[in-house]
Symmetry: C2
Subunit: 265 residues, 2 copies
């Protein structure tokens, strides 16, 4: 088994944004299934769960301590690590390995009081690590903090196939080396930061739809899934749908939802 669950697909403000009455926020407030919590994944395998980022603050209620094999962090912005401030105070003797980019600051006092979190030496870009059931290759991204995307690769003996899923958030565009690496890798599923609707100028720190479509065309994955979504993108998607205009997103580009599960096999 290698299944990716979107725990959250929202940006730092989440959807609904507090106090906002736009159509996207109103919809999410009325119907929880449209809510977007902080962007993060749970990777489910037969041996347990790998969390990719920990922005959700109810992780202790969602996952038993013993089910979590490791945590992999993209970067140390609060919406990606907030859930750890509570988890760390578990009094279990076992410690949970936490993989991370080379960011000496971390977030607030996380490094000072790690509790059960066992921060591993920083990951090196493009240096694959094998965690048993799958491998993880760190990929540099372009953001306001040192940030890594990840290529997850898992081999299925049953069908003699490798599943390759790239998770690229937070980023605006991609470093050339990362883009070339992924273009050469024949990616099955590209999950990517798409915070904003199309803009004349690319936004700061995060992709808009134009950036993502450009990356999609360069890397040519079998499919691309948008995440780290703002209420502005949701609103734009709703307006496009309402106007019944020709689809702006190609068929192989879809928008993630909280709770959605993905797998190659």
């Amino acid at each position: 088994m290698f299944e990716i669950e979107f725990l959250g697909t929202g940006n730092a403000a989440q959807v609904p944004v507090w106090g906002c009455v736009c159509i996207a926020c109103a919809r999410a407030k009325q119907d929880n299934t449209y809510r977007r919590r902080s962007a993060s994944l749970a990777i489910h395998t037969t041996t347990g769960i790998t969390l990719v980022d920990a922005g959700l603050t109810d992780l202790a209620e969602r996952f038993e301590f013993d089910s979590i094999e490791r945590i992999v962090l993209t970067h140390f912005h609060m919406d990606h690590v907030q859930g750890l401030f509570h988890l760390r105070w578990s009094e279990r003797e076992e410690r949970i390995p936490v993989y991370r980019p080379d960011d000496a600051l971390g977030a607030d006092d996380l490094y000072k009081h790690p509790g059960v979190l066992d921060f591993q030496p920083p990951l090196s870009p493009f240096k694959m690590i094998d965690v048993g059931e799958f491998s993880i290759t760190p990929l540099p991204l372009i953001h306001s903090r040192i940030t890594l995307g990840y290529l997850f690769e898992v081999y299925s003996p049953a069908i003699s196939a490798v599943c390759k899923i790239a998770y690229l958030t937070d980023t605006v565009g991609l470093p050339e080396a990362t883009q070339n690496y992924l273009a050469d890798a024949f990616i099955d599923i590209l999950i990517i930061d798409c915070s904003e609707p199309p803009r004349d100028q690319p936004p700061k720190n995060h992709n808009d739809v134009n950036c993502v479509l450009n990356i999609h065309n360069q890397i040519q994955p079998k499919r691309t899934v948008l995440t780290h979504i703002s209420h502005r993108l949701d609103q734009w998607l709703m307006e496009q749908a309402a106007q019944k205009v020709k689809a702006v997103l190609p068929n192989e580009v879809t928008v993630a939802r909280d709770g959605q599960r993905l797998s190659c096999f």
Copy 2:
């Protein structure tokens, strides 16, 4: 109306503690009413809500933007401010006044990116501020970060009486000036950090039951309510109850529960 609601009554680990199987954590896991989230209050008046600390991360779901008049922070440990990292990204034009102790660091990047949070100049110890329906007097506490307790005073014309409620967390013991101030003030309700069961030596940074009973005897409020409670204190209270031993806590000392509401009038 002047009503205090305990949004949370737990310490930084909360109850249940992740991965813990003690009787207190098992009970809280089975029955949500025994859960203890991060210690914090909502003060309800006829004009709106004052949040005292913001450790809960679902404040946007609990409270409409327009209902929050102000936020009052005791200190900048993450379990007391965590909920602000999400709230700040509201895109409303109005800003929410945030009162705080004189802590130049704040928490993570809160000061750098305050969003809708309007951090007020630091409060001065013992210098009362009038916020309309009630007054707030900051009281220095003893903790590992610069921390203020608060005395809330509200006058009821209907019964020509003043209600005085002190909220003292996080602290171990009290500075002499704070203790004397409160002893002279004739407090109705003293809400106080009691993280730990009785210990031979007072713990670091937080009160145990012995510290609290000593403070209770010095200040002599009409009643004392314990908060910022660890699973260890809950477990000790359960054991005391099971053994049917003579009550350790005097009748006028009670233990807060999440969701509980208090008022003088």
